[in-house]
Symmetry: C2
Subunit: 514 residues, 2 copies
């Protein structure tokens, strides 16, 4: 059938979609989601058909991506035929029925995801099936390899190349901002890419961005690392394992994360990492709730690492409460700088020194922890951080107090005296986001009471920071309603954690950030 092109100058986020009228679709025998082959002169392409009411029957609507891939102009005539469904879709169907997929099947799926030959409906079904059926180790390896080979890679020369990643899940975790300068100061290469917040108050990229640009090109990153041994950049636009970014878009509304392992390790492998520490925060307040779950995940990471040629150690870390006191991009960057300068909260210092120490010991250093501690005590880590900030285009002389926070702020006071029995990280995340995180970088929460701390009646539990008075007000109201910090004189006086359903129903949260 010949149809005349109507260019729709809208982007579909990559998918190659063509609009047909119901009449043309009927004549072609095409249903919505069927594939059609569009031919224009010698150019051919396969697109996914969408059937639109009110669309002229002699036209075919092509979105921006399809127009440029095919190189057609408004009004040009193209030939349209029903095409067969892609082989990868049959692989997805097999997975829906619980079949094990072979390496070539997964390669076909990932390739078609990256080349936009699969619709979001089909990707959603695939990820749902993976989430329910789980993945075998072989499938996880094949997926990781497919995700690496369909993206770009960066070569930082001969190793060891060190890296660190958290599976995510506790707010205030700014450890990477310490581990990178500590490791780089000791002379090791650590090219750290990180993500922005999706469902959390701040991702590492959001924090670092208060100090210097993070949106660097691959060439710029190589220069920064050549100069300083390290970097702290946003990985989102580098097309390292780009399939993952497309998977995340679909996972986000569904609240599932079946690709955690291949997602993290494909990105490490793409930057040529040789030694990686994976942080698994474990506890009621974290993504991973129990030790059993954490040990299983850790062993899966180590196993997958072996298969991909990566040396991996996992750290199960205390995940019952936020790390440090500051939560929110600028508040966390302040705290990271203070800690690099020798101050800061003890849990953050301890965690950063421990993880950096593990990395050192993996490369043969005898007492890694001591070396890491020395990098802080000697001021070398802070000097290295300033080098990295300068190399990425920030102000190397920055002081913690230079970073703008607030300007609106208010305190939440305790109605009675007691010891902190538990903190709800979910609630603290909600309060910080209500205050404006992650988009408003000066917004957030400072905790004044953490597990085991003693609080007096009318004592400060937390401070809320916001860039606007209205946000401050709603975040403070939410904090009062949620009471995220629970006090008691002794544990045995406060045995009820929650009441169902009398208590205000809690939003079911899901942390996609990793």
């Amino acid at each position: 059938m010949e149809l005349s092109v109507e260019t729709l100058m809208i982007s579909t986020g990559g998918s190659r979609i063509a609009l047909l009228s119901e009449e043309s679709a009927n004549l072609l025998g095409v249903h919505s989601s069927d594939r059609i082959k569009i031919t224009c002169n010698t150019q051919e392409m396969i697109a996914i058909a969408n059937i639109a009411d009110y669309f002229p029957s002699n036209r075919i609507g092509l979105y921006r991506e399809t127009v440029s891939a095919l190189g057609v102009k408004e009004g040009e005539t193209v030939k349209v035929l029903l095409a067969s469904l892609p082989e990868s879709l049959f692989n997805i169907r097999a997975k829906l029925h619980g079949e094990r997929l072979r390496e070539q099947d997964l390669v076909a799926i990932v390739k078609d995801v990256v080349e936009r030959h699969l619709s979001t409906v089909e990707i959603a079904a695939f990820l749902t099936a993976l989430s329910i059926h789980g993945l075998s180790t072989g499938e996880t390896e094949a997926l990781s390899r497919a995700m690496i080979s369909t993206g770009k890679t960066i070569d930082f020369g001969p190793g060891p190349i060190l890296d660190k990643h958290s599976v995510g899940g506790i707010p205030g975790d700014k450890t990477s901002m310490l581990v990178v300068p500590i490791v780089a100061a000791a002379g090791f290469t650590i090219p750290k890419t990180s993500s922005r917040a999706i469902t959390s108050p701040a991702g590492t990229s959001d924090r670092v961005e208060t100090l210097c640009p993070v949106n660097l090109s691959i060439g710029e990153i190589k220069e920064v690392v050549a100069k300083t041994n390290g970097c702290l950049v946003w990985g989102g636009s580098l097309e390292l394992a780009p399939a993952d970014d497309l998977f995340i878009q679909v996972e986000y509304p569904l609240g599932i994360d079946p690709m955690l392992l291949p997602s993290i390790l494909s990105k490490k492998k793409a930057v040529g990492a040789t030694h990686v520490v994976i942080d698994i925060p474990t506890g009621m307040g974290a993504k991973i709730k129990t030790r059993t779950e954490a040990y299983t995940l850790a062993s899966d990471f180590v196993d997958l690492g072996k298969r991909l040629g990566l040396k991996i150690q996992c750290a199960l870390t205390f995940g019952e409460q936020p790390l440090g006191c500051g939560i929110g991009p600028a508040l966390e960057a302040r705290e990271a700088l203070t800690t690099l300068m020798g101050g800061g909260p003890p849990d953050l210092r301890e965690k950063a020194v421990s993880l950096a120490g593990m990395l050192f010991e993996m490369t043969g250093v005898e007492d890694g922890r001591a070396l890491a501690q020395d990098m802080i005590d000697s001021g070398k880590a802070m000097a290295k951080m300033r080098e990295i900030i300068a190399a990425q285009g920030g102000n190397p002389a920055v002081k913690p107090e230079d970073l703008p926070v607030g300007p609106e702020s208010a305190e939440l006071h305790s109605e009675h005296a007691g010891k902190v029995l538990w903190l709800s990280t979910d609630d603290i995340v909600r309060i910080a986001r209500e205050a404006g995180c992650p988009k408003e970088k000066g917004a957030g929460v400072i905790l004044h009471a953490k597990l085991g701390d003693t609080v007096h009646k009318d004592g400060v539990l937390l401070e809320v920071y916001a860039e606007r008075a209205s946000k401050l007000e709603s975040a403070l109201a939410l904090a009062k309603q949620l009471s995220p910090i629970v006090l008691s004189k002794k544990p045995e006086e406060k045995m009820i954690l929650d009441r169902v359903p009398e208590q205000a129903s809690h939003e079911k949260t899901f942390m996609l950030d990793r």
Copy 2:
């Protein structure tokens, strides 16, 4: 945030989608798939946000559905806010984790599907999870009720209201075209709605449409039934259980059918049926392959029927080969008429009389089969069919040979002599569709040899009909390649069914039609 409306005069198939630039989305804290609240004067609505590159940051793109729901004009200013995710999405997430859903959870999902508050990604994940985890009887009932209550219903007055439905799966099954006039001729009410072919060569609506219009309004249907006791109409545009039509759109590319039971029975209940016979073709060539599977499905139907207040009997019918000889809309309509006139293939006559007989006996008739047979022998069923054709706007004097088939046709000959050992229904479906079915109504296949028949060397196995020579040629070539009819002198001479992978790989087929 205030944005100015850009009206995109494209339809999205119902979903309320709004396009935002990345910049606006960032400022609002909106990710793709998040919900936004759009306010225009006093009108408010929730839409699903899509984030587009190259989209002006001061604009919001609204598709046709959203424009008309909100009543806005190009260039008008609207207020946009991040809205919370719909409750039904949390129910879907719970199902992804294998949780049982309560009636109110399923009602929320179905309501939001019909009101287009859920994206196709979210619906795909829901259907995938249902397909993998299965549904409890309670869930099936709740889904059916929700699907009924979100659609229209038709009241045909006091019962009994009879109905018949096939779960689908064998080609050439034109039984409904006989059961309806037989039942109506005996004085019972049988308002039969049916579907068009999706993956099969012909649906009942495609067949009947060669005789008379099938796209009637609810008012017209009531008139036809008042006049004739029966009808044979297309159910697709009546908005009876409209959720199902939206589910089918998503199920189609995925090749899954978790909603078979609620889909069929919600539509029966919506037309007020009181007594229903469900045909379950069972065999290698059918959708349901084994007796175990068929009995389980039958008992689920009976059970669900009880819960919905429907009397149900299921017929497990022979599903090893196509029914009758004609396959394709017009070829099947011809055969149905011939059979109503007392001729036709014996398997079709036998099946129609048996199923109609079951319906009669369910209402208290002692020998239902005899009554059904009498309706054919006396000519009453054929007279009733002519009444229905006339009432729906067709020519009541139509003769089988009046229906145009072909005009191109060719025979497939047997290379040797033997008895028909088995037929591949999948292959016959592919050949009929290659010939032009279901869109080209004169296209199709006539089988000249069925199970157990003796064929001489060079004898005719089947005839292919097509409306165009090119289609005939490719269908005939496919028939030669596939050899859908397998001959042998004795079964023990032909033990190999297929060779893997030396044989031409077979397309994995899936029958969504029900």
